[in-house]
Symmetry: C2
Subunit: 328 residues, 2 copies
């Protein structure tokens, strides 16, 4: 595929705008570029490019469609995209667990891209960031289980999430009452320990993604993951506290060495020098920062670590553009 | 001890002021009340009570001294307090692990108060909040290990921490540059995965407290705790994501029942109704809120849960006043 025609579906959202930005930054070889959105957002102009309403006829001459829309719009448009012969690289969760849809983190399982039948899914943001941080450990000894607690930025709820935190902080400073619409509770100066919906086993849909998607991406059907997902008043980088158990013990030195060499990772790990990943300083970047690597005190075959990465970029837009690059 | 004379050492700090407030709220039967602080803070007046400089002669007629000062001041004054025959209920970490000093959470190990020889230590705030949340599980089956990730409020760094987050948010809203003095990095819209100092094993001093103090309070010398402590932009309640392994499996229903009956706890656990502990709504209260209780997916003998509690109150001031009440 040379100079493919590319459409961004959901171009006006936080992820869609970032996909556009990442394509430009990377000088992605594009034939035609089409920005598509739901009827509500059509008519806007992004950097001189008009945004058109996505319809069944939008994809006829497209080669790759980068999806940054809702599950509903992704599901509605997918048949038209694949019938048009385009590849749908979709960031929604609609197709992620479908057997005929590869779920790809390019640093981890790039070879899975080849198996696609028209749709390739982009994983959940916390899952991408966590797996980029630890896949190099799995190359030393198979990962058996993960206990994860997330610290997820408001950008995970889209531009509306960012605007709500901004607005709440401005209201606070002005002594005005704080309004919550995007989040069920005030997020400024607060934490909300629910992302996604109740799945019936006590875990939220977001929490189950780390196990379900992790199994598929790592090709480890027995991987066990216990996850707690928490929304925090941070703008756009997710952080995750991870306890990773491997089949054989991995020393801290070996883990540091492996992660320092791993594609997509930046090792930032010097506690004495106060160097560790922090979400404020990983924003607007593609790398996942990894640090605080240390032996678990409960299980000698486990390591604890802390990672942070930009949710809109590596957690979504950059990962999708990387998948598109693999298609070239 | 009836109507004891009480001194607060470090009366002008966040915890010292709250000790004063909690004594008043509880109509604590006080003979004389003395507010003491370092030379720097002496001369202030709190609610009509003058603050005196703490000297070796300050404790002569005191029965109980509530300590909310630095480790240094606590260590300097302790001999004068005990020589004067007063009991020192100290919130600093200076004496917590000394064999002749009980370390007490009144809901968990009230009987240990009796063993004191002049000093009783108040545990670390995250440790208190975590143990209040889970001690009822230990009564069903012994707790063997804990994996904890904390979300700690800026109040843990004292009034200066609260003022710094306030000021940073106001500067942000005003478009001014943000200043950091109390914390090594900006805390507004950020997370800092270091609390305390490097202990040499990759863990910080704050992280090791949960294991070291937990062992002493629970009388479980083999308890294993892996902890990750993170400062978050929240004002005054700490939250903790806990994975608790017990010797025998405890069902979610049994855990909920036990925690709902546990002194010091409030069960807030209905994911479908969006009811769970949140730090904004646990502030200025003494109870530890516990929710998100669910079976761990990695280890069938473990439960995951989420708790939150006011760091200045139950995490420090209230716990110390409760210890003083046990002395009466």
């Amino acid at each position: 595929m040379k100079n493919p025609n590319i459409a961004i579906l959901g171009a006006t959202g936080a992820v869609g705008r970032e996909m556009f930005k990442v394509l430009m930054e990377r000088n992605f070889p594009i034939g035609k570029l089409k920005l598509l959105a739901s009827a509500r957002s059509a008519g806007k102009v992004l950097d001189g490019h008009p945004v058109e309403e996505a319809t069944k006829d939008s994809f006829r001459d497209m080669d790759i469609v980068l999806g940054a829309a809702s599950n509903d719009l992704a599901q509605e448009m997918a048949p038209y995209i694949t019938q048009a012969g385009a590849v749908f690289v979709d960031n929604s969760s609609a197709f992620r667990l479908r057997e005929d849809v590869p779920l790809v983190v390019p640093e981890v399982n790039p070879e899975d891209v080849r198996k696609h039948r028209g749709i390739i899914s982009n994983p959940n943001c916390s899952t991408i960031i966590s797996l980029v941080a630890i896949y190099a450990l799995g190359a030393i000894s198979p990962i058996q289980s993960i206990v994860a607690s997330t610290y997820q930025a408001v950008s995970g709820a889209g531009v509306g999430g960012i605007a709500e935190l901004e607005e709440q902080v401005r209201s606070y400073a002005a002594g005005k009452p704080l309004q919550s619409e995007v989040f069920p509770y005030q997020i400024a100066f607060n934490l909300i320990p629910q992302i996604g919906s109740d799945t019936g086993n006590g875990y939220t849909s977001e929490e189950m993604k780390m196990q379900n998607e992790g199994r598929k991406i790592l090709h480890l059907p027995d991987l066990k993951v216990s996850c707690t997902c928490v929304r925090v008043p941070v703008m756009r980088s997710h952080s995750i506290s991870l306890c990773v158990r491997t089949k054989e013990k991995i020393s801290v030195a070996a883990a540091r060495e492996a992660i320092s060499q791993a594609k997509g990772c930046k090792l930032v790990d010097d506690l004495e020098a106060k160097e560790y990943p922090m979400p404020l300083y990983t924003s607007d970047q593609d790398l996942v920062f990894v640090g605080r690597i240390r032996e678990d005190l409960v299980d000698s075959n486990a390591l604890n670590l802390w990672c942070a990465g930009d949710q809109i970029r590596k957690g979504a837009a950059t990962n999708a553009v990387q998948i598109a690059q693999l298609l070239l």
